[in-house]
């Protein structure tokens, strides 16, 4: 195919999009909405996974001390913890301090629980030498006397991983339905183009244009609809993600948590969305070409 021909096909594609204005608009919107959801879902899932991984990398194990423990028993427990293998540091946080933390993060309402009303436990924060040791250390601590509960990042991370799996599955179903809608709308748009150009197609056939020469403009029209449909959600996600990232990274300052940095994550996501858009468009078009374009 000559370069000039490529230019011609693209021009024809744009012409058709303009000519079938409203149908094209519907198809482009369907692609845009689909890709906005795809992009939003991917950004959410990948960031939660990132957070989960951060938590998993956390080395601390929280040991809740049984309320029945006397002072000496608690000190004994601290010594036992310090003597464990792979333990680097053991810090103590009293239930009063814990409550202050809660009040600090969640508000004054929790001040009601001061003194005897305090439902919290004294906590030992055990840092292990490496993230891999946390679950082993936690298991060794569990059977010890006066240990009420043991909590570590791994369990928290597992919960988050499970959550992302659920989001992914539900989102996936919605997205697949939307992709079908988009493909259907695109194939309808292309079908209208094919009908409105039946005389041109007939003439092309009669003078001996090759089948692919006849097909290309329709395929390109579909791909263009997909491409334009990808531009809108890409721009939207770009702005949304950057502002969320700006807001959240302030919030996360001083912790080991972080979101994926916009570069390269956003570039990869936009590239992916554009690719999906073009594939959806070309697929919708190919369906109509097969059914309605007799070449």
């Amino acid at each position: 195919m000559k370069i000039r021909t490529v230019g011609r096909h693209i021009k024809e594609g744009f012409k058709s999009i303009k000519r079938n204005g409203w149908m094209s608009f519907a198809a482009i919107s369907a692609v845009a909405i689909t890709l906005l959801l795809v992009g939003g879902l991917i950004a959410t899932v990948m960031n939660i996974n990132e957070l989960a991984a951060d938590i998993e990398n956390d080395v601390s194990v929280r040991v809740y001390v049984d309320l029945a423990a006397e002072e000496e028993e608690q000190e004994q427990l601290q010594k036992d913890l310090e003597n464990l293998e792979n333990v680097e540091n053991v810090a103590f946080s009293s239930r009063e301090e814990e409550l202050e933390n809660v009040v600090g993060s969640y508000g004054d309402t929790f001040e009601l629980y001061q003194g005897d009303q305090n439902p919290l436990y004294n906590v030992f924060i055990v840092d292990t030498t490496s993230p891999e040791e946390t679950s082993k250390v936690a298991k060794e601590i569990e059977p010890m006397d006066f240990v009420s509960e043991v909590n570590y990042g791994g369990a928290e991370a597992d919960r988050l991983f499970k959550m992302t799996a659920t989001i992914r599955n539900i989102g996936g179903i919605i997205i697949i339905a939307l992709i079908f809608t988009a493909i259907f709308l695109i194939s309808n748009t292309i079908r209208i183009t094919i009908f409105s150009r039946s005389t041109e197609i007939e003439i092309m056939k009669l003078v001996g244009a090759t089948n692919w020469f006849i097909r290309w403009p329709f395929l390109i029209e579909g791909a263009l609809i997909g491409f334009i449909g990808a531009v809108i959600p890409s721009a939207a996600l770009w702005f949304i993600y950057n502002s969320v990232y700006g807001a959240v990274s302030g919030f996360f300052q001083g912790t080991y948590f972080s979101l994926l940095t916009p570069s390269p994550f956003m570039y990869q996501l936009i590239l992916l969305l554009t690719g999906i858009g073009i594939v959806i468009g070309a697929t919708g078009s190919a369906l109509s070409i097969r059914r309605f374009l007799k070449v």
Binding site: E200, I203, N211, I214
Partner: protein
């Protein structure tokens, strides 16, 4: 050039359009195809550019075997066979020049080639002064001349014309005939289906009469007669 051997065509609805028909047409001939409506003239013509496939028998056009050829080679057969219709089939949104150029563009000819050739064929059909007009600004005869110019723009070896003077008055028809004869004189085979007895009797050429799907008469320089 064109050869049909024992060709039959039965359409899906059971109607037999062509019955065991054999014929040979040489390169450079001018052939009228006459006969009553529904006799199979159109099917006979459409077999030549593979718009329909024979149910039985063989059809060959130039080096192409219509039965055996691959689907993807059909465009190359069509480049050898120009087609003109009674209803012209011009694109209303394109000018005379663009209509003809269109047929060359879709074969990826260069702009220079296109400009030179369009000018040439427009001179041949005597429309060089109406290059930039749109089809609806032209008379029926002029539109048919544009259609002919388009059909020969890519220099086919055969020109198939299905009742090209069907809707035209005698004077205009005479003009079309002169153009077709000029094209024929340049070596292009012309196959023309017609109902116009005046033309067949005035411009003498080979006449093939088709009736009920069979050739009932085939004469060099024949006249327009067939039994109903």
């Amino acid at each position: 050039m064109i050869e049909m051997k024992n060709v039959s065509k039965v359409y899906g609805n059971g109607i037999t359009a062509i019955h065991d028909l054999s014929v040979q047409i040489e390169q450079g001939e001018f052939v009228y195809v006459v006969g009553p409506s529904g006799a199979g003239k159109s099917t006979f013509m459409r077999l030549m550019y593979r718009e329909v496939l024979p149910t039985k028998g063989t059809v060959s056009v130039g080096d192409f075997d219509i039965n055996e050829m691959k689907e993807k080679n059909v465009p190359f057969l069509r480049r050898q066979v120009g087609v003109v219709f009674q209803d012209f089939k011009l694109l209303p949104t394109l000018t005379v020049f663009e209509n003809i150029a269109y047929a060359m563009e879709v074969l990826e000819k260069s702009t220079r080639q296109i400009e030179a050739r369009v000018e040439e064929v427009l001179k041949l059909v005597k429309l060089e002064h109406k290059t930039d007009m749109y089809p609806n600004e032209l008379s029926g005869g002029e539109q048919q001349r544009v259609a002919i110019a388009r059909a020969i723009a890519n220099m086919p070896r055969v020109l198939v014309a299905d009742e090209p003077t069907g809707n035209l008055d005698p004077d205009t028809s005479a003009g079309i005939m002169k153009i077709l004869e000029t094209i024929n004189a340049q070596g292009t085979t012309i196959i023309m289906a017609t109902h116009n007895s005046e033309i067949v009797n005035k411009y003498k050429h080979r006449v093939i009469v088709i009736d009920d799907g069979r050739i009932t008469r085939d004469e060099e320089k024949g006249g327009y007669t067939y039994e109903n």
